[in-house]
């Protein structure tokens, strides 16, 4: 039967009223399948009528079957503030077809919610979080039984996140009430649509309808200049064209900077997540009305927020990922059957190469895969808590059965057990034999934890000297890492933490560069390994002309590489890693993408920090890693560390490396919150958080923090594979001076790797203490020379400048008067005893040099003890341990305390 004939008369007339004269390709393919009651995933670019593809057959079905009271269709969208345009379209349809419609999300007023509970709408539009809330009310639960259709919009956004995993479980909880409703997923282009289908349907059958995108996309890459000023000029020159333009940037900071520079044009506005809702809506409206014709935005604009037709899409700086580019450019030329044109403005050498690689891949449809979170313990905890409140008490096996129907949990019986025990520790549930019973805390927990999104409270940073607020920090970060005395950077300035109280961080300006604020920009998009490697290949083969014919870009890139050659700098590629010495440490140029570099960087860091007893700072991007090291550790040392690395050990090493870092603590706090261990409004000011976090050692909370970090933030498997290639000789490593490639670029992720054992740390402290101790040297040969200095300045073999002898006694500052005794002609008995001691001292210095001087500087260590310590022949760390032992013995005696 022809499609139109299958549709109800009233639906057909609505279609005509909307001004559609023909159905789009996606609609033609998807609608019949939905009418046939199949589960489907519809993959199509924005603006191809995806929403209508789902809603037309659903409306049709709703018309043909009588209502049973209760909700009949659920439309779930991930946007926290709902897409007002989709809403107004649906409201129009429902009005025309006499169907009732309601919206329920975080901001829905209580009166509206109550109305919905009493008289539920047939079509309910909601968010994943609010769906969670529907299970909590007895009345609302009853209304779920009649649901026949569930549409999940922007499902590609959800499938790879914990929020999505939570939704997948929610759908199985819904299945208990409304078995076998039809599932419809609407997705943008991804590399693995089948995975999206499984994510949506679990083991149930589904069909993927794929509308190819490449033939309708035209992507150009243009080199915009090396300096920000030039780049702004290039951008500005492109804005003069007729029509509306969306300029996508990767960070809020960039959006603000561009907005500032282009402000005077008067036709440009900025749109990003940090702006207030009113400001954003105002910008959207003005853009729609044509009052402004350029909107500078971040990923907040990627989702289907409708702002009317967009004629041009410009991506400022590389889009980092193919999927992102396609989604963004897909906004151009909104009408069906027009080509979407987009231009990437490349902002530097690596950025240019990356943009070219991504453009090629987009044209070839080589899009990244979405990877769902499998067996995420905190999602499990959150859902067990929800289910226990929903049922009051429930058998564990039943919980396993419900959750196990989703794709995101499989083979998880022992995980379930561990999670339940942990939840009981935090009094979120009670276990009684095989039953799970809800507790008094559980409802309050759910009210604050409906979402898996971490609502980061921002903690203001207050400078007590200038008495003003200088910035904000994420609360989880403050909780996990910041402490009195911590030093960090914000707004380009150094600050030291004085105290954490009254909901703010009080700081004062600090002077020395010591410790940087570990930071990882949450909104920074990681460049995938495959893209970074391809960039490395372009660098190696110098094949820019294969990727572009734009003269400015070709000229710039080729000259850049020629400059590298002129400076005798080896160009790091996919087969060459270069290690370069800089003032701040060592730069490792590796083309491996953010996640692999993050893993690799941390492994090398902890090896170095263990070996040298020092904290290592780490900053990186997709092509380089800066290791902040004390000046005596150089590229050659890094290479040694790399040479000694066994890929098989790397997973174990990285867990060790992560454990005491800011990143890990931040994630630990987030996961712990989902387990109910930490309330959303927990006090972190007067409590020693660090110690509390230790309580999570060995728990499923810690395990989940590791699991998430190792899948989302760092890729240890790829890093290990690279090390394996180095071992096999397929990738070579060279060292050298800082090159222009090494010096390029903004490093985006920062953290600190402390040494793995406290012992190393203490030895380092003692070493430093002894080096800066004062010492008095006095010659026991001529007895005519003495000098007061510090241990660090004493040469390896001390020598008397007057007589040339090496018989020098090394005394503590308060022993200085004893030197005079040595020079006396007539000595009393006591003075002769002193002379003997000084000689003993000088003899040890004569035979053991500076080592003796160091030992003699220690507390309570005189010639006898120093002699014994040196006699152990201990060296390096062991030598200092002997010194510490001797000091400890002294400290325990009576003499020390009186």
């Amino acid at each position: 039967m022809l499609l139109p004939d299958r549709l109800d008369e009233r639906v057909r007339s609505c279609i005509k009223k909307r001004g559609f004269f023909a159905l789009s390709d996606p609609q033609m393919q998807a609608i019949p399948l939905i009418l046939d009651e199949k589960n489907i995933v519809l993959i199509a670019p924005t603006g191809t009528g995806k929403t209508e593809s789902a809603m037309i057959p659903v409306f049709n079905a709703l018309l043909s079957t009588p209502s049973s009271g209760g909700i009949r269709a659920l439309y779930i969208t991930p946007l926290r503030s709902l897409n007002r345009d989709i809403l107004s379209r649906m409201e129009w349809w429902c009005r025309e077809l006499s169907l009732s419609i309601g919206v329920r999300h975080g901001d829905t007023p209580a009166s509206e919610r109550r109305r919905q509970a009493l008289a539920p709408p047939e079509l309910l539009i909601t968010t994943p979080e609010t769906l969670q809330a529907l299970f909590m009310g007895k009345r609302l639960r009853r209304h779920l039984a009649g649901i026949r259709y569930v549409i999940v919009d922007e499902i590609h956004e959800l499938a790879g996140s914990k929020r999505g995993a939570q939704l997948a479980v929610a759908l199985e909880r819904l299945h208990v009430y409304a078995s076998n409703f039809q599932r419809i997923g609407l997705s943008a282009t991804v590399g693995n649509p089948d995975e999206i289908g499984r994510f949506l349907c679990g083991a149930r059958p589904f069909t993927v309808v794929r509308v190819p995108v490449a033939k309708d996309l035209e992507i150009a890459v243009k080199f915009a200049g090396e300096s920000f000023k030039q780049q702004v000029e290039t951008l500005s020159s492109m804005l003069g064209r007729k029509g509306s333009t969306l300029v996508f940037v990767n960070t809020r900071v960039t959006a603000e900077a561009l907005g500032h520079e282009l402000f005077e044009r008067g036709d440009v506005e900025v749109h990003h997540g940090s702006l207030s809702r009113d400001v954003r809506i105002d910008a959207e409206e003005r853009f729609k009305r044509g009052e402004i014709n350029t909107l500078i935005c971040t990923s907040s604009m990627e989702l289907g927020i409708d702002i009317g037709r967009v004629d041009h899409v410009i991506q400022f700086g590389s889009p980092r990922e193919v999927a992102r580019l396609i989604q963004r450019v897909g906004r151009a030329g909104h009408q069906l059957h027009t080509v979407s044109r987009g231009t990437i403005l490349a902002t530097g050498f690596s950025d240019l190469l990356e943009s070219l690689v991504i453009a090629r891949r987009a044209r070839a449809n080589e899009i990244e895969n979405v990877i769902p979170h499998m067996n995420a313990a905190d999602v499990l905890a959150n859902q067990i808590a929800g289910i226990s409140v929903e049922y009051g008490e429930i058998e564990r096996e039943r919980v396993r059965e419900i959750i196990g129907r989703s794709h995101v949990f499989s083979d998880f019986v022992s995980l379930l057990e561990d999670v339940c025990l942990q939840m009981q520790e935090h009094r979120l549930i009670r276990l009684d034999g095989s039953r799970i019973i809800t507790t008094a805390r559980a409802r309050k927990y759910l009210a604050g934890n409906l979402s898996m999104i971490h609502d980061e409270r921002k903690v203001p940073v207050f400078d007590m000297v200038s008495r003003r607020t200088v910035g904000t920090l994420d609360e989880s970060f403050v909780v996990g890492w910041v402490h009195t005395g911590a030093v960090f950077i914000t707004k380009g300035q150094l600050w030291r933490v004085i105290e954490i109280a009254d909901g703010k961080l009080t700081v004062e300006p600090a002077r020395k560069v010591q410790g940087e604020l570990p930071s990882w920009e949450g909104e920074q998009i990681p460049v995938p390994y495959s893209i970074a490697r391809e960039v490395g290949g372009v660098r190696r083969n110098r094949t820019i002309r294969d990727y572009t014919s734009e003269p400015a870009g070709i000229r710039y890139a080729e000259n850049f590489l020629l400059d590298m050659d002129k400076n005798h700098s080896r160009v790091p590629t996919d087969q060459l890693i270069t290690l370069e010495n800089t003032d701040e440490g060592v730069i490792c140029n590796i083309c491996a993408g953010h996640k692999a570099n993050e893993a690799f960087g941390r492994v090398i860091s902890i090896i170095l920090s263990a070996k040298f007893g020092t904290t290592v700072g780490i900053e990186l991007d997709a092509y380089r890693i800066l290791l902040r090291l004390p000046s005596h550790i150089r590229a050659a040392d890094v290479r040694d560390a790399l040479d000694g690395l066994d890929p098989a050990h790397m997973p174990g090493i990285i867990r060790l490396a992560l454990k005491r870092t800011a990143l890990f603590k931040w994630k630990l706090v987030q996961v712990a919150k989902k387990f109910g261990a930490i309330d959303p409004d927990a006090d972190f000011e007067r409590i020693s958080i660090q110690k509390l976090l230790d309580f999570f050692d060995g728990t499923v909370i810690q395990q989940e923090a590791y699991r998430e970090l190792l899948s989302e933030y760092m890729d240890i498997n790829t890093a290990a594979a690279i090390v394996e290639l180095v071992r096999k000789g397929e990738i070579t490593v060279t060292t050298g001076r800082l090159s222009i490639i090494g010096a390029e670029g903004l490093l985006t992720s920062r953290d600190e790797i402390p040494p793995p054992t406290a012992d190393q740390a203490v030895i380092a402290a003692v070493r430093r203490r002894l080096e800066s101790d004062e010492v008095v040297l006095c010659c026991m040969n001529c007895r005519d020379w003495k000098s007061r200095t510090v241990v660090s300045r004493v040469p390896a073999t001390p020598q008397c400048p007057k007589c040339g002898a090496r018989l020098i006694a090394a005394l503590k500052p308060w022993e200085e008067p004893l030197c005079a005794v040595a020079g006396k002609k007539k000595k009393s008995d006591e003075e002769r005893a002193t002379e003997l001691r000084l000689m003993k001292n000088a003899n040890i210095v004569l035979s053991s040099g500076k080592k003796a001087v160091i030992a003699l500087a220690a507390r309570g260590v005189g010639p006898e003890n120093a002699s014994r310590i040196i006699g152990t022949l201990a060296d390096g760390d062991a030598f200092y341990r002997e010194i510490l032992k001797a000091e400890r013995n002294y400290i325990q005696t009576h003499r020390f305390w009186q």
Partner: protein
């Protein structure tokens, strides 16, 4: 007099004619306070008791001295404390005689103690060494001695060139400055009075030493000479003078 640092405590053995095991700031019952502040853990009292008993068994003292803040809740005694404290104290009593110098959190602790176990809160001298919880002005009789005090929960942060790598409980040793102490009589002031601030036994308690120095919150900590104050780790390692820590962070 001999001093032995027990790092897995942290605790001190003070040995003269008697062998005294000193443990400070146990804060039993802290979990309900944590819960009030949004941190939910089940009671760790059992583990803590075991740890104290292990110290007792390894060090074999003649006397266990609890240097205050045995329990946590102010000003009442919570349900958790009522339930747990009798058992905790008898576990100690079974192994060794003990005494308590009450701290600011120990209001009402007397009801759990036997005769002779409660010492005055202004401090006491045992076997030539003075002991004080640390929240009050010391009794004048303590002056001229070594005073071992709790209450301050000292903790040290060590930094290197690149960042902070160690945060651990620590001891702070300092000389008392007679001029700064507001005290009824200063009879014993001819001899130096040194104070040794002990770290808390409780796993979660801790204040950074620099904060104790710069923003002192007790009569005792306000009266010490900070220029010569020294820091030790829990196993007795001498880290350095406080000024070195300040340089580390500030310079």
């Amino acid at each position: 007099m001999n001093l032995q640092f027990i790092s897995d405590g942290p605790a001190l053995i003070v040995e003269n004619r008697t062998r005294v095991l000193v443990v400070a700031d146990l804060h039993f019952g802290i979990e309900s306070d944590l819960a009030d502040h949004g941190w939910h853990f089940s009671s760790r009292s059992a583990e803590r008791v075991k740890k104290v008993c292990a110290c007792i068994e390894t060090t074999n003292p003649d006397l266990l001295l609890l240097l205050g803040d045995v329990k946590h809740s102010i000003p009442k005694t919570t349900q958790q404390e009522f339930f747990e404290i009798p058992g905790i104290l008898s576990a100690f009593r079974d192994l060794v005689p003990f005494m308590v110098i009450p701290g600011n959190h120990d209001i009402g602790i007397g009801r759990f103690l036997h005769d002779g176990e409660l010492l005055p809160k202004a401090g006491a001298i045992i076997d030539g060494v003075a002991y004080l919880h640390g929240h009050t002005i010391p009794s004048p009789s303590l002056l001229g001695h070594l005073i071992i005090a709790g209450h301050h929960h000292p903790m040290v942060s060590l930094h290197d060139e690149v960042g902070c790598y160690l945060r651990a409980p620590a001891y702070l040793a300092a000389e008392l400055d007679p001029a700064k102490l507001r005290c009824a009589e200063k009879k014993g002031m001819r001899r130096k009075t040194r104070v040794l601030f002990m770290p808390a036994f409780n796993e979660v308690a801790g204040f950074d030493i620099l904060r104790i120095i710069r923003h002192p919150f007790s009569p005792l900590s306000r009266s010490i000479r900070t220029d010569t104050a020294e820091v030790f780790l829990t196993e007795g390692t001498y880290v350095g003078p406080v000024s070195a820590l300040e340089d580390d962070v500030a310079a």
